[in-house]
Subunit: 344 residues, 3 copies
Amino acid sequence: AQVQAAPVDLSGYTRVKQELVAPPFAPKHEQVATGGPKIVEVTMDTTERLMVVDEDTGASIWALTYNGSVPGPLIICHEGDMVELTLRNPHDSMMEHNIDFHAATGALGGGGLTHVYPGEETVLRWKATKAGCFTYHCAPGGAMIPYHVCHGMNGAVMVLPREGLKDAEGNPLRYDSIAYIGEQDYYLPMDEMGDYKTYTAAGDDYADSLEAMRTLTPTHSVFNGAVGALTGENALRAKVGETVLMIHNQANRDSRPHLIGGHGDYVWETSFTTPPLKDVETWFVRGGTAMAAMYTFEQPGVYAYVNHNLIEATLLGAAAHFVVEGDWDNELMEQVVAPRSFSA
Amino acid sequence: AQVQAAPVDLSGYTRVKQELVAPPFAPKHEQVATGGPKIVEVTMDTTERLMVVDEDTGASIWALTYNGSVPGPLIICHEGDMVELTLRNPHDSMMEHNIDFHAATGALGGGGLTHVYPGEETVLRWKATKAGCFTYHCAPGGAMIPYHVCHGMNGAVMVLPREGLKDAEGNPLRYDSIAYIGEQDYYLPMDEMGDYKTYTAAGDDYADSLEAMRTLTPTHSVFNGAVGALTGENALRAKVGETVLMIHNQANRDSRPHLIGGHGDYVWETSFTTPPLKDVETWFVRGGTAMAAMYTFEQPGVYAYVNHNLIEATLLGAAAHFVVEGDWDNELMEQVVAPRSFSA
Amino acid sequence: AQVQAAPVDLSGYTRVKQELVAPPFAPKHEQVATGGPKIVEVTMDTTERLMVVDEDTGASIWALTYNGSVPGPLIICHEGDMVELTLRNPHDSMMEHNIDFHAATGALGGGGLTHVYPGEETVLRWKATKAGCFTYHCAPGGAMIPYHVCHGMNGAVMVLPREGLKDAEGNPLRYDSIAYIGEQDYYLPMDEMGDYKTYTAAGDDYADSLEAMRTLTPTHSVFNGAVGALTGENALRAKVGETVLMIHNQANRDSRPHLIGGHGDYVWETSFTTPPLKDVETWFVRGGTAMAAMYTFEQPGVYAYVNHNLIEATLLGAAAHFVVEGDWDNELMEQVVAPRSFSA
Ligand SMILES: [Cu+2]
Ligand SMILES: [Cu+2]
Ligand SMILES: [Cu+2]
Ligand SMILES: [Cu+2]
Ligand SMILES: [Cu+2]
Ligand SMILES: [Cu+2]
Ligand SMILES: [Mg+2]
Ligand SMILES: [Mg+2]
Ligand SMILES: [Mg+2]
Ligand SMILES: [Mg+2]
Ligand SMILES: [Mg+2]
Ligand SMILES: [Mg+2]
Ligand SMILES: [Mg+2]
Ligand SMILES: [Mg+2]
Ligand SMILES: [Mg+2]
């Protein structure tokens, strides 16, 4: 059917190239679209690499990635734009890869048209007809689907409304920065001693991984690929009065992000065409979803951003930090009496 | 109290008989109600039968069912109608059964009034006062409740608004067909070798099942009773331009359906009196819920409908297929360059 | 920064003392605020106590609590009020505690300002700027966070809109009573025989608990601290025509409450500033959330309120009862034919 399909007239579109950047950062973009619809050109390589998941235990994985990062890079366009992806599988890869865009329509989200073996490339173009944040991920077929997804091969596209984000009453909402956070559930095989196994090449852990995945219980659930990837020197940064748009991608498993000490002023759990939830303590990420939460910082200090299954946050790794500068506001909170001894 | 309750005047209601059909199909019904309120008469038998869950492994279960299918048949009425159920427990059954309608009010959803032993029948009438999709299930009491529910004994009632479905602005929404999908989590006992155990009669797996259920980790999560029940020859069918209402029932455990290559244009996760979510990539089924998602197909091809915990979709069985006919639209998606070798 | 912060002018606030009460009850409060903003003074002790979790098995835990109950007491204020908490750690405690209010802004929700060792007290004041139900919990840092939370150290604050609750159209909604239910996931260590281990003091189960928590599979999920805490003599009570506001707190793990035989007429899953969902069969509690569901009883009888993962409800303990008095309504439901034998 596809061979005989009528050619499409692209004359109304302007071509632009989007330079993808590593998470937690976002590519340069407009919040409100100027001009007519665009064809946004992006390129991604399906890179396989050995990654340390947890430096404390030495747990590692032969990660399957887009552009070398877990999650893959954030792509941003506007509703009515087209995304044109060049997908390349490096010559030294071990495995077949492809890409399924939840934002796209038809052919398994593009998965059916983009299978590339090592040394192959393909180009797919699709139109962004729905506004929201959407997961993309590798989906080679069968059990290879969760295997690739749970080895890091997923990321997000944000399709903004042409006029930018709005609240339920239609008032514009703008952000100062984006924090793009991918939560990755890993199911790392262990030996009889309870030590994480190591492998010599991508794909070698396939049988063991299937067994581990079948428990539905991850050994790790981490933000941006590894325990502590967004803390310490790599903490996210903001200032009091600034508004951050937190984009959370979880391609496989439910999550429930919470910003300790802060809130979601506006939360889009499903799409940008559904009115945002307001004043949310903990939002919900349906497994297989990217979503967005907006918050304006009101106090300085360190905020932990966690999966509020607190076992997953502290034992499995799902924690990031925001470091926020500014002046403390005693009206919002005050330590009236510092901890002191009291008489029984 | 019930014995002394005032008799109800049913003179304003018209009696109609609804012929129930096996899933994934829906009984004949009107989307917009014509005439006054109805008493919708339905009949269900509590049939116990040995079912193969997975042909590949031979895993089987003595399923407990309504009318022989997992899920039980879909019942459809309109808000303000009454449902009058004749429930019969066949003479050759091993177990007591009953029915709890989430759509009903009082007496544990009818569970308290419908306990039938083998060879017994009962008739329950209840009024549909809330519009939405609602689970029904067997609930004999105590640990028998999850035992029966996790052996297949659940289904859905759809209570339509009398004027049919509407979007958030009040515009009518109509569908061309219904795909009624029940997701069933099974907890099949295994022997020491990891092989699924077999049993000679319904109920014989009770103690083993309780142990397996306590892990909260299903061995299978399947659509319409068995792995592959809605793929291949039994795939769902549609045409480009047609609108399908996907009704998802999960009586026990959360799920997150996703239509690969498509979307939920309108999604009612809770009720029809709450405005639908729009443009959803992956919707959420609270465990113990039936819900609905509406989509108009825009491209031909095969769409997989999955629980987007991809481990559950591919290793546990939660996948169905839609086969959609029509013309491909290169504007929505085009394979600009088919996979080809590239130079390093 | 905090030391140098400008002093706050509290002259516009009236001080009131709120006497906290044990769950499932709510403190005295106004639904619609009268007068100007208040400083609501509350006191909580971080009490450690040995609790029986399940009388049938003898399973017990050295619970970590606020004021001796699991969950901690419900605090109620209005948007724009301040909460001023005196937090005391008794001299005979074994452990450090603190408190993180999801309703508060900054300093990890107050967690960073309230670390009290045994024999210490502290006073924290924070302003309620968001209307909704919010979890509070102990968060001493690292793995101690889920350890304390999963030993019972969590509860809820309800921040009402000053004008009280409203439906999506702005009409006032009032309740006759509150049922405050905390769902607690416990991960009780077992010995090799599968018997629950016992410990001689709070904290002694730390290493074992971490191992149990890592499975992400609770051994118990109970309402108000123990199996059966809200059934039998301790069942909740209401009358036909009365409206109950069910507040559900789950500080760590997702839940899906369902009122068997009833509904959620209005459900606020996230906040009171997001319009309520209507006519909900089963609502969703994001782990790390308190939320509210409102229902007006229409029939007498016993209603079970459960986590509708029915395995968790019946095998893990997540069930409570409402006993409702009044007259049965045969229009809503009628047992037309009581169970009787039928001919094959
Ligand atoms: Cu791949
Ligand atoms: Cu997907
Ligand atoms: Cu049954
Ligand atoms: Cu139920
Ligand atoms: Cu504590
Ligand atoms: Cu918290
Ligand atoms: Mg649109
Ligand atoms: Mg999304
Ligand atoms: Mg393939
Ligand atoms: Mg109604
Ligand atoms: Mg429903
Ligand atoms: Mg019984
Ligand atoms: Mg506000
Ligand atoms: Mg809340
Ligand atoms: Mg500390």
